[in-house]
Amino acid sequence: MNIIVCIKRVPETTDVDIFIDKSGKDIDKSGLVFDLNEWDSYAIEEAILLKEKLGGTVTVLSLGGEDSNESLRKCLAMGADDAIRLTDPAFNGSDGFATAKVLAEAIREVPFDLILTGTQAEDDGYAQVGVVLAELLGISHAALVNRIEVQDKKVKVHRELEGGLEEVFEIDLPAVLTIQTGINEPRYVSIMGIRKVAKKEIKTFGTSDLNLKLEEVGLSGSNIRLEKVFLPPVGEGAQMLEGKPEELALTVFNILKDKGGLT
């Protein structure tokens, strides 16, 4: 079983104060901590679990600058065999469609049985790259997968639906599955583990290596463009309670008595 996993390095923005940058088109990322996209960490873990069970190789792919090596090395430390970085200044501004286009061209060169991606990225949240990729490669897919059983030349997958319901499909390989969080428990990577793979070669490919035309990548290959970013309008918002913890406790108690029927 040869598996390709597509990953992305993203800034951590939960619990962090974020500000809009001067261009007005994105947030100011200086000072933010970056890590492997959460959904992708489940995808790479699932690929490695399958490899441990069935043999084969795991190749990890990412679109991005040199910074992305950090996330690729994390995947190598987790147990991936090879890492490929797709990089070209012309890729800047790629939306979900253009990103999938570049990934598809790179993947045509690599033999595979199964492709895993995260269901979505924490930053732009398109939730489309994996499914578009499948269509560009002309193979089957399933999105929001939270369980995989590999059978002979096919997989049985569970798709997470709303309200705790799942639907089970049988899919012929090769296929693309987009992985939902919670499917497994991604392994911890130690600093020692990262050091061990520090010297491992990460191959890089650009537009000309991939038989892509410039008009197929970046903004010119994209379907949508972000014009500007702004803080979400605050609706009525919450009435903010302030004070010492003891005073807040009394306020909360009174709300519970008043609204929650607490006695």
Binding site: A127, G130, E170, K228, L248, A249, G260
Partner: protein, 322 residues
């Protein structure tokens, strides 16, 4: 054209939301609103939909009894190629996320996913999407020529009451054959029911990613016990296996309507908010003053949960005794 979504005998809320938004867009575009309905024995749905659109395109085929991206795409490619809508609305749901991206590639139609705002001026659409887990909004535009496909976030557009339309039901022959599929539906599986039914609780104390470690959960459980509340959580807590799936509030978990909902260390992703917006009173505790949860709360406390929860726990016991 709206692609209707239904599952196990029920039209899903997103269908009405898209029809409501679709009607407004169709009016400003000077276009007709149509809705595509795929399924088996779906005439009752067609009757229910016909007051909301100009045309209801029904493809009735036993092979469409359950959703499958492969059959859906085949049918929709034929329908859309024939009817040439200028805009297609799909739900950004578990179903829409599975077929809209591949359908858009097949039809060579630009797709904007997970939109919470859609406006049209002549032929130009302006869209609003969210980035960074809902902390930032972005306006976006299409770069290529239409027709376009937009996937719509559930709950983003309210259902407006408008005078009923007299929709025509148009029966479309199914293009499906008995040819084998590469993707085959097997069954639905229900998540296991938990020990405690969080949907029945008057007071829910809910924890999120901010709890950081399973060993911090007892502190919150004691607070919940002190006020006769039940412990619930957001998705990351279940993903990490710290609490069972039955405790999860949100789109993929339970929808709850307690009298009081206390959200602790929950950032407020829209999937979570969708599950708790029916709560009578919401109190949110988060250390990030910009956390989206404060937009969904009645009362907010900006604080480190590890400092405030122990005080809440101890004081509640004290207040209730006195």
């Amino acid at each position: 054209m709206v692609i209707a979504e239904h599952r196990r005998g029920e039209l899903r809320d997103i269908t009405w939301e898209m029809l409501s938004k679709g009607r407004q867009l169709a009016e400003s575009m000077g276009a007709d609103l149509g809705v595509a309905l795929l399924g088996k024995g779906v005439n009752p749905f067609a009757d229910a939909l016909k007051s909301k659109a100009k045309r209801v395109f029904v493809v009735d085929d036993e092979r469409l009894e359950v959703y499958n991206s492969e059959t859906y795409e085949k049918v929709l490619i034929q329908l859309i190629t024939e009817r040439k809508p200028s805009l297609i609305l799909v739900g950004h749901t578990a179903t829409g996320m599975d077929f809209a991206p591949s359908l858009s590639v097949r039809l060579k139609m630009p797709l904007a996913t997970d939109c919470i705002g859609i406006d049209v001026d002549g032929e130009n659409f302006s869209l609003i999407r969210q980035l960074y887990g809902g902390k930032i909004n972005a306006s976006a535009s299409f770069l290529k020529q239409g027709p376009y496909m937009v996937s719509v976030r559930p709950g983003a557009f309210p259902v407006m009451e408008k005078e009923p339309l007299t929709g025509e039901i148009v029966s479309i022959p199914s293009p499906l054959t008995d040819e084998g599929l590469a993707k085959r539906f097997i069954q639905y599986v229900e998540a296991a029911v938990g020990e405690v039914d969080i949907t029945q609780a008057d007071i829910l104390v809910s924890i999120g990613r901010g709890i950081k470690d399973a060993e911090n959960i007892p502190m919150v459980k004691e607070f919940a016990d002190a006020i006769g509340g039940v412990l619930a959580c957001s998705r990351p807590v279940v993903d990490k296996k710290w609490l069972p799936k039955g405790c999860q509030v949100g789109t993929s978990g339970k929808t709850v309507k307690p009298k009081v909902y206390i959200a602790i260390g929950i950032s407020g992703a829209f999937q979570h908010v969708a599950g708790m917006k029916g709560a009578g009173t919401v109190i949110a505790i988060n250390k990030d003053p910009k956390a989206p949860i404060f937009n969904a709360a009645h009362y907010g406390i900006v604080a480190d949960l590890f400092k405030i929860v122990p005080v809440l726990r101890d004081k509640m016991k004290e207040f209730r005794k006195s």
